[in-house]
């Protein structure tokens, strides 16, 4: 926790934006380690993949498109300091009434959580309680979240997607001439993709699921595009296919819900999909998670395509 504080302070003081972005990546990695310690393995997984991976790449792409240095602030920063300080004091005063850390009798542990923990085994039949809640008990929430992600992806495409330079064939810019990078990438991509699939379909049993798998899948793609060039990556999976996947994921999620309506059950109640309730839940969660993974991966990859499609070629000497 202290280390996190130090990193955040360094981010506050530094003016070189490149270092700021790198530090925020370190910050995410440290907080992922902390989350594992707090028993939130699924969350730590996501934070490591998202914070230390994808967001760093996106931030760096933005820096390449804008500027790498922050200007001196022109106005005094005394007022914000006072406001922030007062808010902090008020919040600390609020914590005095909070249940102590790790207290099993805290109110949060006595509402719906015991039901989830006790009944997941018999009702859903999968060991990972987090996945069961995510996809089944709270399927509505997750559908909403996926729609938000979908909307954000569409927003990015609308905002800057129209300005992608058309591929013109002769300006393919790659790092292919770096022997080490090329070999390591070739070695890594296979295992990363395999790992993404494992995380996707093994999310019922261990930590993992559609959200994490989508991000990891996208990470493999972004590495490929970084080293072998955007045009090559576009040739493997064209932007059009990605955009179709973007919508298909949400559609799959919503569609599973509609199917359970046809069987005379509530929306997103998977129990009717299989021969037994537990089998139905398994099938439903598998499909829904697949939809989530598809949308998340598509949003990440298309965002990366759009961002890096705008960067004018940078030669090696400039770095």
């Amino acid at each position: 926790m202290l280390f996190l504080g130090l990193t955040a302070f360094a981010i506050l003081r530094l003016r070189a934006l490149f270092a700021v972005v790198m530090l925020s990546s370190v910050y995410s990695l440290v907080s992922a380690a902390l989350l594992v310690h707090l028993d939130a393995v699924d969350v730590a997984f996501t934070e490591a993949a998202v914070g230390a991976g994808i967001s760093t790449v996106l931030m760096l792409a933005t820096l390449a498109l804008t500027t790498r240095h922050e200007k001196e602030p022109t106005h005094t920063s005394l007022l914000p300091l006072v406001v922030v300080f007062l808010t902090g004091i008020a919040l600390v005063y609020g914590t005095l009434d909070m249940p102590r850390f790790g207290d099993p009798s805290a109110p949060i542990h006595h509402h719906v959580a015991p039901k989830y923990i006790n009944d997941t085994g018999s009702e859903i039949g999968m060991p990972n309680i987090v996945t069961a809640i995510l996809a089944s008990y709270r399927g509505f929430d997750t559908l909403g979240e996926v729609t938000v992600i979908f909307t954000a992806g569409i927003g990015v495409l609308l905002l800057i997607g129209a300005f992608i330079r058309e591929p013109d064939g002769n300006t393919i810019q790659t790092m292919e001439h770096h022997l080490v990078l090329r070999l390591v990438t070739k070695l890594l991509i296979g295992p990363i993709l395999l790992f993404a699939l494992y995380v996707q379909f093994h999310g019922d049993y261990g930590p993992g699921g559609g959200f994490q798998a989508g991000v990891i899948f996208a990470a493999a793609f972004i590495i490929y595009a970084l080293v072998f060039g955007l045009e090559t990556a576009r040739r493997v999976v064209p932007g059009r296919v990605i955009r179709i996947m973007l919508a298909a994921g949400v559609l799959l999620y919503g569609g599973v819900g509609v199917i359970s309506l046809f069987f005379g059950q509530n929306y997103l109640n998977y129990s009717v999909l299989g021969s037994t309730a537990v089998a139905g839940q398994h099938l439903g969660i598998l499909l829904v998670e697949f939809g989530v993974g598809m949308t998340v991966a598509a949003v990440m990859v298309s965002t990366y395509y759009v961002f890096s499609g705008q960067i004018p070629p940078i030669s090696d000497e400039e770095w």
């Binding site: 926790m1 955040a8 393995v41 967001s55 931030m59 820096l63 804008t66 060991p127 979240e145 961002f307």
Partner: protein
């Protein structure tokens, strides 16, 4: 207030410090990329707050193993797991806005954007008002 209380609340206090640092960056820095990094710090501190509340001492990760065990509360995990991915999607949207602002204004400093806006609305500041 004894030593136990201090230890029991330490996590929440660190969360608040992180949160306030993020807020301070957002409010006081003019650079739009820096603002987004500040927002991310704020966001992570909220994640840590939720997960800290879900922790049960002596508990373990909420994955059923067949043995009776104490589990940490899985509900905050679910909420935060999705929040992280939504967070990166909205961050990407924010960064896309920054890129568009750069294309239109040729700067990502808040002051300069404001100045450009005023000039567009009221014309050049007086002194060189003659066209």
């Amino acid at each position: 207030m004894n030593w136990n209380d201090v230890l029991g609340l330490f996590n929440y206090w660190m969360v608040i410090i992180l949160m306030m640092m993020g807020l301070y960056i957002v409010v006081s820095r003019g650079n739009l990329v820096k603002k987004i990094v500040g927002l991310n710090i704020f966001q992570t501190s909220v994640f840590l707050l939720y997960i800290s509340m879900g922790k049960v001492s002596g508990g373990t990760a909420p994955i059923l193993t067949g043995k009776p065990e104490v589990f940490s509360n899985p509900l905050p995990h679910v909420l935060i797991l999705t929040a992280i991915v939504v967070g990166i999607a909205t961050t990407a949207l924010g960064l896309a806005l920054v890129v568009r602002i750069k294309q239109s204004y040729d700067t990502i400093e808040e002051d300069e954007i404001q100045k450009a806006d005023e000039e567009m609305e009221f014309g050049k500041p007086s002194g060189d008002s003659k066209p």
